[in-house]
């Protein structure tokens, strides 16, 4: 093989760009993932069978988790996959199987007031579009590089640290655990046949 080409190939294939490295093919993955997310969202609101909607929502959740990875937030991505896609969606599928009687999937899809709902949503969309068009200058184009290597440690120090800049959210963390306890109790009591 041509030695120059050989050296060039070695240089291409063995580049070590170090930790916190340059992402690869960012526009391609962004468009792919956001296309998947929006397509999944569209399928959620239009499919007749609730199990199909749940599967489309799972696709959306995993696409959004990958978008978090692209935004250098690996911990949030992992939490999203473990809690949302692995926990909440299993719960949804259980409930669909418990309550989905046969006639539900032969019913009409949209409720009686669907024109009003659609008009409201179009108004909201118009609001977003005007905000984005008029306020385009408010979103600076810079993206500050957060080192990826210590993301979990930094999130942990914000959640668990002492008072001050670190540990701003310790109290909120404790309240969130209380919230989860109340939610567990609520879900159990709601579904008991005799309290």
């Amino acid at each position: 093989m041509n030695p120059g080409l050989h050296q060039a190939l070695i240089a291409v294939y063995t580049t070590n760009t170090g930790p916190g490295m340059e992402p690869v093919a960012t526009p391609f993955f962004f468009y792919l993932l956001s296309g998947l997310a929006i397509a999944g969202g569209f399928l959620v609101i239009t499919r007749r069978n609730p199990v199909h909607c749940a599967l489309a929502l799972i696709v959306t959740l995993i696409a959004v988790a990958n978008l978090y990875l692209m935004l250098y937030a690996p911990f949030v991505a992992a939490v999203q996959i473990i809690v949302y896609a692995g926990g909440i969606m299993v719960l949804f599928l259980f409930v669909i199987m418990l309550v989905s009687i046969e006639r539900a999937s032969r019913d009409r899809r949209f409720n009686r007031f669907w024109p009003v709902g659609l008009a409201t949503a179009c108004g909201l969309l118009a609001l977003f579009v005007s905000a984005f068009v008029k306020g385009r200058a408010l979103f600076p184009d810079r993206m500050i590089a957060i080192p990826e290597g210590s993301n979990t440690q930094q999130v942990a120090s914000m959640l668990y640290g002492e008072a001050g800049r670190m540990g701003q959210y310790t109290f909120a963390f404790e309240i969130a655990s209380l919230l989860l306890l109340v939610a567990i109790l609520g879900a159990v009591i709601m579904t008991k046949k005799k309290i």
Binding site: T26, P27, F30, I38, G41, V44, I45, P50, L61, V64, L67, L71, A73, F75, V76, V79, Q80, V83, Y84, I88, L91, F92, I96, L98, V99, I101, A104, D107, R109, F110, N111, R112, W114, V116, G117, T120, A121, L124, F132, R136, F139, P140, D141, M143, I144, A145, I146, N151, V155, M158, Y169, A172, A176, L179, L180, A183, G186, A187, I189, M190
Partner: protein, 102 residues
């Protein structure tokens, strides 16, 4: 190609939000309404994480984690209410869940 900036992520989040709102206001099956609420929460999360990247601080990510926790709690309680209601009325149709009026 145009480099991907924060604005691109905000547009995606807004699209997901609008899709979720359409689902909440339009669908008949209560379970699908709850799933659309999850879509809305995900759109908000994406917004938060995109802004966290823009400013280089981790507050957005921590808040996003809290929202995921919150969504889990709300999904559990909401589905519990739905099951309790289904046991009484045997329907999951929002058009037929209108007990408070004659």
């Amino acid at each position: 190609m145009v480099p991907i900036t924060t604005f691109h992520y905000l547009v995606v989040a807004a699209a997901l939000f609008v899709l979720g709102v359409i689902g909440v206001l339009t669908r008949r099956n209560v379970v699908i309404v709850l799933m659309s609420i999850e879509l809305i929460l995900n759109a908000v999360n994406l917004n938060l994480v995109a802004f966290s990247r823009m400013w280089g601080r981790l507050d957005g990510q921590v808040f996003a984690i809290f929202i995921v926790v919150d969504a889990a709690a709300e999904a559990a309680v909401g589905l519990g209410i739905l099951i309790a209601f289904f046991r009484n009325k045997d329907t999951i149709n929002v058009d037929e869940i209108d007990l408070l009026k004659w």
